[in-house]
Amino acid sequence: MIRQLQDIWRYRELLRELFLTWLKLRHAGSVLGLLWTLLNPAAFVFTYWLVFTYIIKIDIPNYATFLIPGYLAWNFTWNSAQEASRSMIESSYLITKIAFPAEILVLASVGVTLFEFLIALVLYLALAVVLGIPLYPVAGTLPILLLIHIFFTLGFSLICACGSVFFKDVPKLITIAGMILFFATPVFYPESLIPQQFAILFHMNPFAPFVACYHEVLYYGLLPGLALGLKVGLISLLFLLGGMRIFARFKPYFAEFD
């Protein structure tokens, strides 16, 4: 693990250059450029807001302010996993020709989606201030929550990326799993709507506590309880360490497989 971190550190300049390159190339050639990263979630939020405010009248005041933080957080995690997997497959020819720590590809992918997530989040917070949507002092704990969430996403992306090298089905699986889990996780509805008989599934879902934290901090204005805090911390640590171990274990065989 220490050797793995040393290798990554030695290639930190590659990480930075790759991050900047991908950021630049991502929207190169499209008229709206970086705006696309905002248009996607904006269109989604608008549609859901319309449906759940006027058609399925959900009992949540200011529904959009409930939906947005959790949805952005959700998007960050799944976009990262998808981007990381895609970049591993796309860069397979590099892995067979240049000796560099492949973790860099995952880190740079997560970096790009993180950048987009942060832009959207900051914009939302700014908008909230302008529109007079209440932000509670507990929002100051957001950086800590972000950090724990980033570690979790990194671990999850490392596992997905590693799997994608060996099984080309993994990226497709991630898309489907993301869709199903999106409905199974209280992102656009509150936890309280989950029927008792499904509560166990909710408690087993590793994504749910992270979204719940964002709801607590940015919507309800409450500090996440000790149990919830411990849960996200533990899941995050488990995924990060597990992801790094799995990646290190199978990394030597990446070049052979491609």
Binding site: E13, E17, T21, L94, A99, F100, P252, Y253, E256
Partner: protein, 258 residues
Amino acid sequence: MLNDFRRPEAHGIATSPILRCRGVRKRFQWHDRNLSLKKSLTQAFKPGDESGSWELFSDISFEVARGEQVGFIGRNGSGKTTLLRLIAGIYPPTSGTIEVSSHRVLALLELGVGFYPDLSGKENIRLNWVFNGLRLAELADKFDDIVEFSGVRKFLDTPLKYYSSGMRARLGFSIASHADPDLLIIDEVLAVGDSEFQTKCRRRIAELCKSGTTLLLVSHNLHDVVEMCGRALWIDKGSIAYDGDSTVAVQRYLGNAA
């Protein structure tokens, strides 16, 4: 350097070998795309399982002293390229050890790997430099030499997709050869480009060798091997058939082929 099987000692005494291969054995695994999921799962998670695999070589041992130039000759498929990839750290050996006692190892297994067609020549030089694990601070001093040697100065701001394949190859070689590697690994890349560029490359390699760079060269151009390397290894049927003076090695190899 990157993986656990390569343990670089810190820059040791000048007389210690830069490369030490001991009992290197390499076995490749079939990766049948049509395997059932169950079978491919069990295979992927049992890298030690040797069914459906073939052995490229079983016991390769040799040392290379600092500043030595060594050629590798042999038929197609004899494992020369794989051996270079093992030394470069792209694959792990199935068993045996490969020790490279330098961090400045540069493997030219293909020219222009890691180039992004949408980036300009200038941006690609930066990115390629860091892909090889080199510091950007060093690039500042070398940048002009790289551009001068490659002869693409007029097109520095042009996206690489508009470069001819010759220009791309020149740029790739120019970057690598200005990295001042301790150990330069070249696999057949001199075959590209026009004769003027090839002459230039040979001269550049000779310069590097004179200044103390260790060279490992795979080439089917036996004239190159004799010209650039004092020593050559003839790899035949998975083992070293001859290790010694390059002229003798080439004679034996040709004698065997006749």
